[in-house]
């Protein structure tokens, strides 16, 4: 069994809401004077206790950004940290990278830890690329010798050879990020902490960065990675933890955790029906009246991956005269990967007069994998090309594995679809 390199034990972090001090001496004195005279503090936060924020755990004017988090990270783990905004991910990373201290609890780790909460921290715009490599490297904890040794590698990785002696203020933002990431990627710490820094840079460079991090992991180093890009996270990470409202909700393999996370936030919407045309979504040409997804076999209400199910969309068209209309939708999986585009245009070519228009689409059983799906775009299209009306994220639903009689997750999802293909298998020769 690999060594434990990070141990987080009962970690709490408190932030004070409202006012600790008023940041000016005069207002502190004012508050003090008011208290002395027995009056209300003129600087006390307004509406304490009436907070409309329900999410964060409030305790008077305190706010616990992290509550009793404990977990361990083994050497060589690629740990993904997921959670909605405000879950405490950044706070956790800040504590781990020693930018701020915890309120209670302890973190212990072995080896050198480097964190990349932001790319290009400490870059000086007036200095050249080469000079900034040294400066940034030193800020991240490298010695001059280390950097000199790695210089060529860093330059090659960043692909900025030609601009090395140009001040970085003249760099494009892409070059800037590449250079910054290159420095950090060559730190060679035993533990690397990476916050959502790959949001910048083009797709090719993002892939390169992920590749670099993967390589770092293969070298037996430990990586902690925070990202809202679940796909990147799944590709990279082996382990995962899910934070929510400051608490550690789930820990396990990256897949389990991401699945847990996604399921929790995918509120199922299997039926949307607007009975009043006035308030129905749409424009002056068409309205959406109803959208539904349901198993074809009306006796059950869960959609099983081995049984057919159907979509049912109803529009109200107000386009005068006869027009060629089609209904099209995009189906995404939980990682927001496009599974397919379904359209009546693939099989029909009809014209319609103004009025209600209903489209039903039957999907075979044994096509989709289990998981959460979203109809991201529902379109009414005129003349094979003009979008009359588009409705976003209209439906979202769950496809479950039929043999998973038990609740929830039964195993790893393998592939975007799981079609039952026409196989033959027989002894031969």
């Amino acid at each position: 069994m690999a060594d434990t390199v990070i141990e987080v034990e009962n970690l709490w972090k408190e932030y004070r809401l409202g006012v600790i001090s008023h940041h000016t001496l005069s207002r502190d004195l004012q508050s003090w004077w008011a208290t002395v005279r027995g009056k209300d503090d003129p600087n006390s936060p307004v509406g304490t206790g009436l907070s409309t924020v329900s999410l964060p755990p409030l305790d008077g004017d305190r706010f616990w950004a992290l509550q009793n988090c404990s977990f361990e990270v083994k050497q060589g783990d690629l740990l993904g940290i997921v959670g909605p905004n405000g879950a405490g991910k950044s706070t956790l990373l800040k504590i781990l990278s020693q930018v701020t201290a915890p309120s209670k609890g302890e973190v212990r780790f072995k080896g050198r830890l480097a964190s990349l909460l932001e790319v290009g921290t400490g870059f000086h715009p007036e200095l050249t690329g080469r000079e900034n490599i040294f400066l940034n490297g030193a800020i991240l904890g490298m010695s001059k010798g280390d950097i000199r040794q790695k210089l060529d590698e860093i330059i090659a990785f960043a692909e900025v050879e030609k601009f090395l002696d140009t001040p970085v203020k003249r760099y494009s933002s892409g070059m800037y990020v590449r250079l910054a990431f290159a420095v950090a990627a060559h730190l060679e710490p035993e533990i690397l902490i990476v916050d959502e820094v790959l949001a910048v840079g083009d797709a090719r460079f993002q892939r390169k960065c992920l590749g670099k991090m993967e390589q770092v992991g293969k070298e037996g180093r430990t990586v902690l990675f925070v990202s809202h890009n679940l796909e990147a996270l799944l590709n990279l990470c082996t382990k995962g933890v899910l934070l929510q409202g400051g608490r550690l909700v789930a820990a396990g393999s990256a897949r389990e955790v991401v699945h847990h996370y996604v399921n929790q936030y995918a509120t199922q919407k299997t039926l949307q029906h607007w009975t009043d045309l006035e308030t129905a979504p749409g424009n002056d040409k068409a309205k959406l009246v109803k959208a539904q997804v349901r198993p074809s076999d009306g006796s059950c209400d869960t959609i099983c991956s081995d049984a057919p199910f159907e979509f049912d969309f109803t529009f109200f068209s107000m386009i005068p005269g006869e027009s060629n209309l089609d209904v099209t939708y995009h189906l995404l999986d939980e990682r927001r990967v496009l599974v397919y585009v379904g359209s009546t245009a693939f099989s029909r070519n009809d014209s319609f007069k103004p009025g209600f228009l209903r489209a039903t689409c039957r999907v075979y059983g044994n096509l989709l994998s289990e998981g959460t799906y979203t109809v991201s775009r529902l379109l009414l299209v005129k003349d094979r090309g003009t979008i009359v009306y588009e409705h976003k994220d209209v439906l979202s639903f769950q496809v479950v594995h039929p043999s998973a009689g038990r609740e929830g997750w039964s195993g790893e999802k393998e592939g975007v679809i799981r079609p039952k293909l026409d196989w033959d298998l027989y002894p031969c020769g």
Binding site: T4, E7, E9, Y15, I20, S21, H23, T24, L25, S26, D28, K94, I95, L96, S97, Q98, V99, T100, A101, P102, S103, K104, G105, E106, V107, R108, F109, K110, G111, R112, L113, S115, L117, E118, T121, G122, H124, E126, L127, E131, F134, L135, A138, I139, L140, G141, M142, S143, K144, P167
Partner: protein, 288 residues
């Protein structure tokens, strides 16, 4: 405590992050390990400031020259303050050079937390590296100005003015060290307080200005009436400036007694400064 678990073998952790530390958790050894960073900060300060300026480091010379000339006119010609029988220009310049290093150190370190919040919020390194590097990079400006002062001194000396340098110039490193320590100490103290009270930054600006007039920069301490002498004793900078002037120009004297007091104050301020700085640095990013 699970730090001694698994196969009965104590686990060795390289670093333990805990909520709060005592007053004496200074980890100054870390500062030494980050010496390369200090060197790079010094170099950055020096290089970056004068990029895209026409005169570059020449500003280090122009500034004190012009200020001294103004002083010589206002205090020497108009106010007719005594200069202990020294050439006015040399007298004012010596005061300026010594005072300016101290004032620069204080001013530029007093903004450490607020000015570097964006870096401090993103990456860890010993925070003391920043003020220490600032003090060192100010040394470069000081050296240039000292050179200017020395060349003028040689000029006056060659033209037969009544200046004679003392063997006490050997004390220069001690004096410089004291100026740096005093400026750093006050700067650290102020910077840890500014995390709470932003208005202190305004106070520092003109406080240092006023302090200069309370120090024997534009007048010799011998010209001060006896009833204000206590002020010079309490002011740790006045013996330093006096000693500096005595060493190079041979006027005035070194009062060992008041210098010892000033040394004591200096070490006290430096200690309190470092302690409060290290105390604040852990939680500062939550309040700045």
């Amino acid at each position: 405590m699970p730090s001694t678990v698994k196969e009965g073998q104590p686990v060795r952790w390289d670093k333990v992050i805990r909520p709060r530390s005592g007053w004496f958790d200074l980890h100054l050894g870390e500062l030494w390990r980050y010496r390369d960073l200090i060197a790079l900060f010094v170099w950055r300060d020096f290089v970056a400031v004068y990029k895209q300026t026409i005169l570059g480091p020449l500003w280090y010379v122009i500034q004190p020259l012009v200020t001294t000339a103004v002083f010589a006119v206002i205090f020497g010609q108009v106010a007719k303050l005594p200069t202990d029988g020294l050439p006015p220009f040399l007298f004012y310049l010596s005061g300026m050079v010594a005072w300016k290093y101290f004032a620069d150190c204080l001013n530029s370190t007093s903004n450490t937390f607020v000015g570097n919040a964006n870096i401090f919020g993103k990456v860890y390194f010993p925070r003391l590296t920043v003020p220490v590097s600032v003090v060192i990079s100010n040394l470069v400006a000081f050296a240039i100005q000292l050179l200017l002062f020395l060349s003028l001194l040689v000029y006056y000396w060659a033209t037969g003015s009544a200046v004679r340098s003392h063997l006490a110039v050997l004390l220069l490193p001690v004096l410089v060290l004291q100026m740096a320590a005093l400026g750093l100490g006050f700067g650290l103290l102020v910077s840890s307080l500014t995390t709470r009270y932003r208005d202190l930054t305004h106070l520092v600006g003109f406080g240092v200005q006023l302090w200069m007039y309370a120090s024997p920069v534009v007048y010799p301490s011998s010209s001060l009436p006896d009833k204000w002498r206590w002020m010079l004793v309490l002011n740790p900078m006045s013996p330093v400036i006096e000693a500096f002037r005595f060493a190079f120009l041979g006027a005035g004297s070194i009062d060992l007694h008041s210098w010892l007091i000033s040394l004591a104050i200096t070490s006290g301020v430096l200690l309190v400064g470092i302690l409060s700085f290290c105390k604040v640095e852990k939680s500062v990013m939550d309040t700045v």
